[in-house]
Subunit: 569 residues, 2 copies
């Protein structure tokens, strides 16, 4: 009412209105962190000249696993904020599979401690992971069953239930899954979905569980069907998964309110180089989506889907989460305000993010029973083995029968196109080691290993000799996790000291070190078709066809059963 | 998953999809009151052949004062249900102004007792009236202040806070109004708005109170501004207020998600003859709105605005509220299902609505201090009086100065165009009587009176002689409220025995009796420009310009102060 000065006036911006799809020039008046008026002639204790810029609401990522950035929450927040992100629905699926609930508590706390004035620069809506472990065929660091889910979901810590990947359990009405879903329902908390290729009767049944979102559709038809059945589609602009390109074709002027944006997995170089949701907006524009739809998908739609009060719009009573961009086609972020505080300008955050919050629960998480070179011996008396072949540039693997020669109870790898793969249990020092043979990866003269390995994050080590593989495993243990390469006596260790998943180093360092160690592995002969470490990370994910390796052995995904490495008879 | 038979399959309908705007032929499978699948080939314990019909979600009225129908909740529900209504946001503003909270409790309970199987045929989302009394210039039956609002709003009984009509109090930040609003905010309950002509700074300020809806815009520009500032527009298709015609012009393909439908006030003949929201849908179609937008405004949009879980769509996990219509242009309702139970077919409800739930609180509510003919004496020694003139067909009144002749301390009405108007306090038998002169109404040879009188519902009596006016008042008291006409010794009484606002008679009888007594009044000379009783009902509403009469006297709305009937000097 102009009776007194506002705290802040963002003056003279082109203000994009998510309700009308139109832009109006004017001021955004802010008091107590809230927008109190859109109009003209407001006076403020602080005034920000926004002439020439377009104001859009703070961008909200509907689904992201922060851990996949390899960055600490502090560094992730700083990269996200400069790109206009003011909210994320974070599913700490990875860290909870390692550290249990304490992993989620750590994430929340680390984000919460960031401050600009009294304001936290990023809203983090934490989902309780629904699938810990992801499958019963591997050993994860924690088990969160229906009973624990009922208890944990009651806490304010968790906004909802994370993506329900175990759709077979939902369709089968398995008791434990039902308890989780029914806890969410009772508490009125949202449940995220994950239902690749689910359509028809199965989709109907899955949705009876009141699962609300999906980021997995593979085709326009699947996408349209899911919208028709009431799902929100999370258009995914991840670092490797880009079904946004296909799925956006299912969006039209009528149904667009059911489309929201997500990253799912976004790595640090991608975040740093291309951006976050601003990158997704640019992609939508390049795919022919009018700006007014694109922006609403990243703001109002997400807020409505998740019931985020006071988010997603520039209007009175809404939180003053405002992003100034150069225009509605390039979305170059100039300044970002969160709850009325400026948090970023021209690619620089205005808050300190150097200090790391760390708890014991996420430190020194690699608890591995000691290994020796002999631990990696593979004896194939029959001379015939089931090998794994990774299809280039996709995560699908093929089963192949290979002839091998054994000597002293171990496979000879010389003059073959084979390497050994080991998945070593690292949560309880059980001594579990799964062993396999991989054809065509190209690695020679040493071993590489990583402690990020979806979804249980055991140690994955690949090599052409047992001694180097054992050395890699030990180095991973010592570093508390990370990426390791050992070649001709040279050792390269890039620690991921937070739960073996993330680095506490600054983002630039993480990006540089990840690139360097990748190059090291590449020099060891890893073919161009593969990302040396990142391909490794998925070789233990027992839900992707056709064959995987967990700490408990070789797993035939099509038969949904363990398989023998040796082919007898 | 077709593992077992559903409870009900609605087979072969053209199913309208609110998410896509498209229609697909198929089955709606229902179990436990919920839709479990949309598709084909489902088997059910019951099967309803819906071939040739179009299925839409149950219609939801975003704002209605049920009392204005003059019908009991049971009869209202029966009329609404046959027209495809499965939910109403009911603001019991009238009955609470008479009976206090017990009036709201009565309404809820009366609706709740209706049953088809285990199902209640109508969802009633009851709003706690925010303005009881509506103004401080009249005596209502109850006062609900901020403290009581805080207490009452906590109850499950109330879904939200009813239309905040007292916008000057909101703009002024008056403490009592703030307490009400802040109670709703704390509890996360929705607040309905009522802000005629509010724009610019005032609108910004009003919306800072997180008021979400409005049904009062007068113009396209006002409507567009309100949408831009984040309000939901309730397109109103009431019996007398039809701003739907103007306001719908503000709706476009982008912003339509912020438009919902309401009736506000809908009388029984209108409900019976024209329908309820189906009538509004036909009106939208006739105004050029494509059916896919119209239906979504009456279903999904309303459910989203009010956060009604599982309502507003035909999709798995949604409540099986299904309306079968002949097509998407005429919307002739063939059958209605609520929570999977059929509640209506071809204009007939399939549930018993004859029994009345009544509580002491709503019976015998006319507590009037006895009146005599002398109570209506108006002495104007100066011979000059301030009279009221009702402008034809609108509710606005004009102030006029008239010359009068007095005899024995009372105005002589013979050979004038004047009648007397009395508003008699009827809640506490205080003896308050406000008296006025009305010009040009046309009533001769008796008196008429009514106990419905917005918003405090005192008795309004009009007549050309004191004796008949007194008789009318006494008859109203005896009947516990209603409409009464006394003319040449003939008495016609149509009781509104529920709080003096509604009749416990069947709908057809209410419609017939209201028409008859209207005709009686018409025969007494009431001009065609006025609805004899319904015009009367608004003459004490102290917020509509320019002059009104309350139990405390003549009120100048423009000066916002009481006025003298006699003009001196």
């Amino acid at each position: 009412m102009k009776r007194e000065k506002c705290d802040l006036v963002i003056k003279g911006a082109q203000i994009f209105n998510v309700f009308t799809g139109q832009t109006e020039e004017g001021d955004i008046a802010v008091a107590d962190g809230k927008i109190v008026a859109i109009g003209r002639g407001y006076e403020g204790k602080r005034v920000y000249d926004a002439k020439g810029y377009t104001a859009i609401p703070g961008l909200i990522d509907a689904h992201i696993h922060v851990e996949s950035s390899l960055l600490s929450p502090e560094e992730f927040a700083s990269l996200a904020c400069v790109h206009g992100t003011t909210g994320i629905v974070a599913d700490p699926h990875e860290i909870v599979n390692v550290c249990g609930i304490e992993g989620a508590e750590y994430m929340k706390e680390a984000f919460s401690k960031l401050r600009v004035g009294k304001v936290c620069p990023l809203d983090v809506y934490l989902q309780l992971p629904s699938c810990v472990p992801a499958t019963p065929f591997e050993t994860s660091g924690a088990v969160i069953d229906g009973t624990e889910t009922e208890r944990e979901l009651e806490r304010d810590l968790f906004y909802g239930l994370g993506e329900m990947m175990n759709y077979p359990a939902v369709l089968a009405g398995e008791e434990d899954a039902m308890r989780k879903l029914s806890a969410a329902k009772t508490l009125g908390k949202i449940v995220d979905g994950h239902a690749p290729s689910l359509t028809g009767d199965e989709l109907n049944a899955y949705l009876c569980a009141e699962i609300k979102t999906d980021h997995e559709p593979f085709s326009v038809e699947e996408c349209r069907e899911k919208v028709a059945r009431g799902m929100y589609i999370q258009l995914r602009n991840g670092s490797s998964a880009h079904n946004i390109v296909e799925n956006v074709k299912a969006m039209d002027e009528f149904n667009f309110r059911r489309f929201i944006l997500c990253s799912d997995d976004k790595n640090a170089p991608d975040l740093s180089r291309n951006g976050h949701l601003d990158d997704a907006l640019r992609k939508l524009i390049s795919l022919g989506v009018p700006a007014k739809y694109a922006v609403v998908c990243a703001t109002l739609n997400t807020a409505e889907c998740y019931g985020m009060k006071g988010r997603g719009a520039l209007a009175p009573s809404y939180c003053a989460d405002v992003v100034l961009v150069n225009n509605l086609s390039e979305f170059r972020v100039h300044a970002v305000f969160k709850d009325g505080e400026q948090v970023a300008e021209n690619g620089k955050v205005l808050f300190s993010h150097e200090k790391r919050y760390l708890t014991d629960a996420v430190k020194s998480t690699v608890r591995m029973k000691d290994v020796t070179p002999d631990s990696f011996k593979i004896d194939i008396p029959s001379g015939k083995a089931l090998a794994m072949y990774v299809r280039p540039r996709v995560l699908v693997t093929e089963k192949e029968t290979v002839s091998v020669r054994c000597e002293g109870g171990d496979v000879c790898l010389e003059n073959t196109d084979l390497v050994k793969l080991a998945v070593i249990e690292r949560h309880f020092a059980s001594g579990n080691i799964g062993l396999a043979l991989v054809r065509g990866y190209g690695l020679k003269g040493g071993a590489i290993g990583v402690s990020v390995a979806h979804d249980s994050h055991n140690l994955v080590v690949m090599g052409d000799n047992n001694a180097d593989m054992a050395r890699v495993a030990r180095l991973l243990k010592e570093a508390g996790g990370g990426m390791v390469a050992v070649c001709n006596g040279k050792e390269d260790v890039f620690p991921l000291d937070i739960a073996g998943l993330m680095s506490s180093a600054p983002a630039e360092e993480v990006i540089a070190r990840a690139a360097e160690i990748g190059e090291t592995a590449r020099r060891m002969g890893v073919k161009e078709d593969y990302e040396p470490f990142m391909t490794l990370v998925f070789l233990s994910l027992a839900v992707i066809p056709k064959i995987r390796l967990t700490d408990r052995g070789l797993f035939d995904v099509e038969k949904f059963a363990f398989a023998d490495l040796e082919i007898k008879g």
